[in-house]
């Protein structure tokens, strides 16, 4: 099934911080050591995308669940909350 998560994220309100709150510690690890690359699947906001030579981190749509942080088999994601007041803003919750 083809679902565009962007359509879902478009419904949400975000107060995007200029400073990314998610970062890959070492981009090489994802290609040289990580066979499964679960971040590409488990992230409910599809923050992690496979590009030609790297995995991009589109932190702007992050729903702040934490799954990538503990789901990464190599603990290769530097994860913190967005600065106070930034990030996703639930309208209903």
């Amino acid at each position: 099934m083809m679902v565009r998560v962007e359509d879902k994220l478009f419904l949400n309100r975000f107060n995007v911080d200029e400073e990314p709150h998610l970062r890959l510690l070492d981009g090489k690890v994802c290609f040289e050591q990580c066979e499964d690359q679960p971040c590409l699947y488990i992230c409910p906001a599809n923050v992690y995308k496979l590009e030609k030579d790297r995995i991009s981190v589109n932190y702007e749509g992050c729903l702040e669940c934490g799954s990538c942080r503990v789901g990464c088999p190599h603990f290769n994601i530097d994860w913190r909350f967005p600065q106070g007041g930034y990030g996703v803003r639930h309208k209903f919750g």
Binding site: D36, C65, S67, H90, F92
Partner: protein
Amino acid sequence: MEETFDAAIVGAGPAGISAACVLADRGAKVVVLERGEYPGAKNMFGGVLYGNHLRQIIPDYVERNCPIERNIVESRLSYFTEEGGVSFTYRDVAFFEGLRNNAFTVGRAKFDRWFADQARARGALIVCATVVTDLLRDAGGRVIGVKTDRADGRLRAKVVLLADGVNSPLAAKTGFRPEVSPENVALAVKELIALPEEVINERFGVSPGNGVTNEILGNVTWNMNGVAFLYTNKSSLSIGIGANLADFTREKVRPYEMLESLKLHPLIAPLIKDGKPQEYTAHWLPEGGYDTMPQLFGDGFLIAGDSAMMFNALHREGSNLAMTSGRLAAETILEAIEMNDFSSTGLQRYAKKLQDSFVLKDLKKYRRFPSFLETHKELFTTLPRATSAAAREILTVDELPKKARQRKAWKAIRGLVSPLRLLRVFWDAWRSVR
């Protein structure tokens, strides 16, 4: 000079605000630090709160215009295959009056803000848009305050209550709760779907103000240990689905694809038809339960609610455990203030209070339930199919005599699960919750 609070609370959710209300009520100087722009901005859950536990903190919550969406009068438990499903439903007139607001739905953005306003009215200081990044400790390791992401963001307090929820980089960083492992949390995604109030009343057969909860198990979670739900709000439905995070990683499932497939299910699609999606959220549930709980108190700190992994998966209860643990933490802090002892000795009564309450009694009773789900995958694979196959067989009316029909139904079950394994599942299920 730096100001010292009696208590600093991390997180303006049900646990933190409950504690703040109780503390402020008794004159304690309390500050709540919330990372969202407003309380509830970051919070999400299925949608059910329990009147009994809220009443113990705000006795007149209804009169104070608590933003209740719908009073729950009917609970459905469904077991779905891809094509259909079996459901049990319980509705009772008691839930309209005597047991009114036993359970009700809320949206967290509205509820948490309202709840925080109650704490504010009692004298608590609620500081939003502030992330607690670390805890302050003295030379002896005792917690003496918090460090925030604001300039000059240090705050001294006699006690710190950690109520920052299940996803807590702070807990992991400070070591007060080890980082969760994927096996111990479920990842859930939820969509809010707007529908006119009258349409919801009609589709669920309820009068204005009343509503339905529906928990759905079976093949909807794509062979993973999980659960889906559909709850009625005033003029929207909350539809969500979640599964164990380790299962997500193993099965390489995209959560939003599973949610979309649930929305197309033949028993769900007519209920949400023509609804307009309004919001899409994601959150963890601390499924691990009792065995994954951290030390609940120490020198200068206490842990409550989701932060402490207090969650009853079988009864989908969490917000009530959070409110009660927050209240008991506050009572413990008040006693500590009286004794002027904020060491772990002064705070140890928290554990006793939790043990004497339903919180730890329930968590203990169901401690084996999470591993039961994890080790009996047929609950999410062959068993729903067997149930549906048998039901379809029994309900098919043609020339076949009933005896042959029943034999055929039994054969359909056996073809999917061996009778011995079936017995084993029932036996293990009973043992895990007794």
